[in-house]
């Protein structure tokens, strides 16, 4: 853990990972509640909760892509084109989530994109060109929570 804290930055910022973790999990809470609503109240509250999840998912993909872009821009040696393109790809991936007519396809896109972004971030961090370890320490379990929520809603959509 000491190594993780060193990589995260100055000692003055040690409180940040915990605060970020709390906020990140709090951010996942509406998604979990919405997934439960889709599952338990599919007729009345389900459609609204589904729309909520899809918009939330699309914005999450864009946000995670932005984080990747931001990390690339802040590299001491300056951004490399390949990293900038890598950061912009999630932006392109997020757009169909808003434009596709079929909610099933939109759920599927989110379900595929989130783990791919996580794996890409893990690879970048391992190479030393990605986000700090603590960010991924929060992000990995968060992605599993989100995948479970989207997976439940997707399954309900397929069954309805």
């Amino acid at each position: 853990m000491a190594n993780l804290a060193e990589k995260a930055g100055a000692p003055a910022r040690q409180g940040l990972p915990q605060a970020a973790a709390v906020l990140a999990y709090a951010g996942a809470l509406p998604l979990i509640v919405a997934a439960l609503l889709v599952l338990l109240r599919p007729d009345d509250l389900g459609p609204g909760a589904q729309r909520f999840m899809l918009i939330y998912g699309g914005l999450l993909i864009a946000f995670f892509g932005g984080v990747r872009w931001g990390v690339a821009v802040m590299r001491p040696e300056g951004p490399r084109f390949v990293h900038l393109v890598g950061g912009a790809i999630p932006l392109v991936l997020a757009l169909p989530v808003f434009f596709l007519a079929d909610p099933g396809a939109r759920f599927l896109l989110i379900l595929i994109a989130l783990p791919i972004l996580l794996i890409d971030d893990l690879r970048a961090t391992r190479k030393g060109s990605g986000a700090p370890d603590w960010y991924l320490g929060v992000r990995a379990p968060l992605t599993i929570l989100m995948e479970a929520s989207f997976g439940l809603a997707f399954a309900q959509h397929l069954m309805s």
Partner: protein, 142 residues
Amino acid sequence: MGRDDEDMTRFSLVALAPLALAAIALWLAPWALPLSFALDMHQMALAYGGVGAAFLAGADAGGRRGAIRYLIAALAVWIALWPGGAFHLALGAAWRYLIIIGVLIYLWLGGGARAAWKTRLVYWAVILLALIMSRLLLLGYY
């Protein structure tokens, strides 16, 4: 402006093309283009602007290693994109752009060292979004 900054400026200005197309379509409708097409472009621009603002919030969060307020900025974008409103609050089409414009300006102001590329990106994005918003207001879509 360094070479990196020039590349970044070019990269980000190209990314604004869909917003420019939507603004042109809205101002050409209903005379030169069907209004239905222009309104479809508005829907596209709203989603694109929202996704772009969430991306920029993420970029700031990544660049500053996890600043929490950028996550909140991304959540504000979600309100702008929520289609039917929530908690009995339904936003009109034009006002959704105002939220995105607000988030972009907030991100620009809170960005610490304001890179030239980001200043230009936010400047042109706000102008294009304001053009779309003003046209929607003129068309009666409050």
